[in-house]
């Protein structure tokens, strides 16, 4: 059930979207065949510095898009702007054809664009299961009056709980359901936050560095979750520094530097692009732009690491 799904997609929408992307030029700001998120002239300055200055960006639906760029490139700020957690100085953007400029964060989320945070926001003094339940939409029992009358929401609560347990099992957190979220490891919290975001069946899920801090043993299965997510019809936009991951699972890569989109295209080409390498080398020289041969090696290691991890867990 938690088998990582191989990237060869079976979903016809995904196949069609990928095919369509093949005909798209590899230039920054290029139009996509069926874009889900479209940003226009979005600018955000902090004390005179343009943290984000995106002229035009379209995020294709039904595929996995990676947003990469050196630290401070404005990726997180861009996420914050799109999801209503920050206000731009200028610009407009639409999601699923509807304008989202000025829409508060909770309504953005309700419209189907759900994000996670770079600094994980697990709700520490709530159990893992309660964290998950909170992610479900349109709960009758969330009305103050209805809350007092359990029969009104008992059935829905049961359904929500079932769905939560399903997702937890997929993310290998099912044995932790009654633990406080604050007692999880950093990586497990990332997984929980992602699983929680999926409780609402989002149209687009935006993951800000989903791999950071996750035990290498879990990265393989996390990759599987993300591709499975796409194959089940959810579009994914993720920020990541791990270039192996970017190469391995993304269908399209967008590169940001100093607030601007500087390149976009399929992963292999983008990462061989001199401008991209320069953008990275400009900030930190040691960045490894990813090499697939390493990935294979890693998966051997990960089996060992997994065994180690489990032994560790049991020792607790």
């Amino acid at each position: 059930m938690a088998e990582p799904i191989v990237t060869d997609a079976v979903n016809p929408d995904v196949v069609a979207a990928r095919d369509a992307l093949r005909g798209v030029a590899h230039t920054p700001g290029v139009a996509k065949p069926t874009p889900l998120l479209v940003a226009d002239g979005v600018r955000r300055t902090f004390g005179g510095v343009n943290a984000v200055d995106v002229e035009h960006l379209e995020v294709q639906s039904n595929v996995i898009t990676a947003l990469i760029g050196p630290n401070g490139a404005g990726k997180t700020t861009f996420f914050n702007l799109m999801t209503g957690f920050d206000r731009p100085d200028a610009g407009s953007w639409t999601f699923d054809g509807k304008s989202l400029a000025g829409v508060p964060a909770s309504r953005v989320s309700k419209s189907g664009m759900v994000r996670t945070f770079q600094l994980t926001k697990a709700l520490s003094r709530m159990t893992v299961l309660e964290n998950m339940r909170l992610g479900a939409r349109d709960q009758v029992g969330e009305g103050m009056g209805a809350a007092l009358l359990r029969p009104l929401w008992r059935k829905q609560e049961k359904e929500v709980t079932e769905k939560a347990r399903d997702l937890l099992a997929r993310f290998k957190l099912d044995t932790k359901e009654s633990d406080f979220a604050g007692s999880l490891s950093g990586g497990q919290r990332k997984l929980l936050e992602m699983a929680r975001a999926l409780m609402s069946d989002p149209t687009l899920v935006m993951l800000d560095e989903p791999m950071a801090g996750v035990n290498p043993a879990l990265t393989q299965s996390l990759l599987g979750h993300i591709t499975a997510l796409r194959d089940s019809g959810t579009s994914v936009l993720f920020v990541e520094h791990d270039m192996h991951m970017v190469r391995h699972i993304s269908d399209w890569v967008v590169v940001m530097a100093e607030g601007k989109v500087v390149a976009e295209g399929p992963p292999k080409e983008v990462m061989d692009d001199q401008a991209v390498i320069d953008a990275y080398l400009g900030s930190h020289h040691d960045t490894d732009l990813g090499d697939d041969s390493l990935l294979e090696e890693e998966s051997v290691i990960s089996a060992e690491a997994m065994a180690e991890l489990e032994a560790e867990e049991e020792a607790k």
């Binding site: 957690f85 964060a105 994000r115 709700l123 309660e130």
Partner: protein, 327 residues
């Protein structure tokens, strides 16, 4: 020293209207702080408004139930006035605004200009507004002794007031219990932990915080009614110290628990009477006069509480495991 009569005093205070009123106020504060993480530093303001609302409408000739509803309405309006502009801002704003607003209510209440309505700094005497409540009692008047405690059945600090008061406390606990296990309570707890995370999950945090502020404030107002029915409406006896005592009671009993505020209130008032009684009995009057013992009682209870919070920071009923986790 007469221990039997001291213990009777302790029992009388721990089950009396003051303990009831503070339990209700602390239950309200628990909804604010324990469940939602809101820092309300003006719970006394809600109590005072409730007391005024009830007393003034009764004096105006309105029936008991209507006066009760008006008192609750005052708290709802007050909560909305405080919450609407501040709950979108960072948490500290609510704390500052509530402490100021509670003081403003008190100053307005005691101002000379409103003498006819609020009785100014003298307040409103109990005899002016107690009749409708006392008249609603199904019991016959007279002195009734239960165990070592002997009280009037219906007048002022009466059995009738205790019956209704504890009934209200039980009802408040039931409501909190039901809310705590509901999806609504879950959203509040989520807000307490990290409101941005809750926003990212599509919940309108602002609305939930407003609901929490209103509900907790209403319990405060009901506490204010109880305390005024025991004696009078006295603006200066519902000032900042009342808010601080309520906080102490909540932390003592255990925030985010159902019975913590009730247990906290009972223990707080029992401890205060016990400590004062012991000092009066054991320390000769030429060393410490009884007027000096009054405030010293608070000091000693305060020290005990500091120790308790050092050694049991989660409060008496709180979950240590839960508190050990850093947000």
């Amino acid at each position: 020293m007469d221990f039997a009569s001291l213990l009777t005093d302790v029992l009388r205070e721990a089950t009396g209207p003051t303990a009831i009123a503070y339990a209700l106020a602390a239950i309200g504060l628990n909804i604010h702080f324990g469940l939602t993480g809101l820092i309300n530093m003006g719970q006394a303001g809600f109590m005072l408004l409730g007391a005024y609302g009830f007393a003034i409408s009764t004096i105006a000739g309105l029936p008991l139930v209507v006066a009760f509803l008006i008192a609750i309405g005052c708290a709802v309006v007050f909560a909305l006035i405080l919450g609407l502009p501040t709950l979108k801002l960072r948490g500290d704003y609510l704390a500052i605004v509530t402490i100021a607003a509670a003081e403003i209510i008190r100053f307005i209440g005691r101002s000379v200009g409103l003498n006819d309505l609020t009785g100014g700094s003298q307040g409103l005497l109990g005899n002016q507004f107690k009749y409708s409540f006392e008249g609603a009692s199904p019991f016959a008047d007279g002195l009734v002794a239960i165990g070592p405690i002997s009280l009037q059945m219906n007048a002022s600090n009466s059995w009738w007031l205790r019956i209704v008061g504890w009934g209200l406390v039980a009802l408040a606990c039931l409501i909190v219990f039901l809310l705590l296990r509901s999806p609504w309570g879950r959203v509040l707890k989520g807000i307490r932990e990290d409101e941005d995370a809750v926003r990212a999950l599509g919940k309108n945090v602002y609305t939930f915080k407003l609901q929490s502020l209103v509900l907790g404030g209403v319990f405060g107002a009901v506490g204010g009614i109880v305390i005024s029915l025991a004696s009078s409406v006295q603006p200066d006896s519902l000032g900042r110290p009342v808010t601080f005592n309520t906080w102490t009671i909540l932390l003592l009993g255990g925030a985010a628990t159902v019975f913590g505020p009730v247990l906290g209130s009972i223990l707080f008032w029992a401890a205060l009477v016990l400590v004062r009684g012991l000092m009066r009995g054991l320390i000769p009057p030429d060393v410490l006069s009884s007027t000096e013992i009054e405030p010293l009682g608070f000091v000693l209870v305060g020290i005990t509480l500091v120790l308790l919070i050092v050694f049991r920071p989660q409060g008496i009923l709180g979950d240590k495991k839960e508190l050990a986790i850093n947000g």
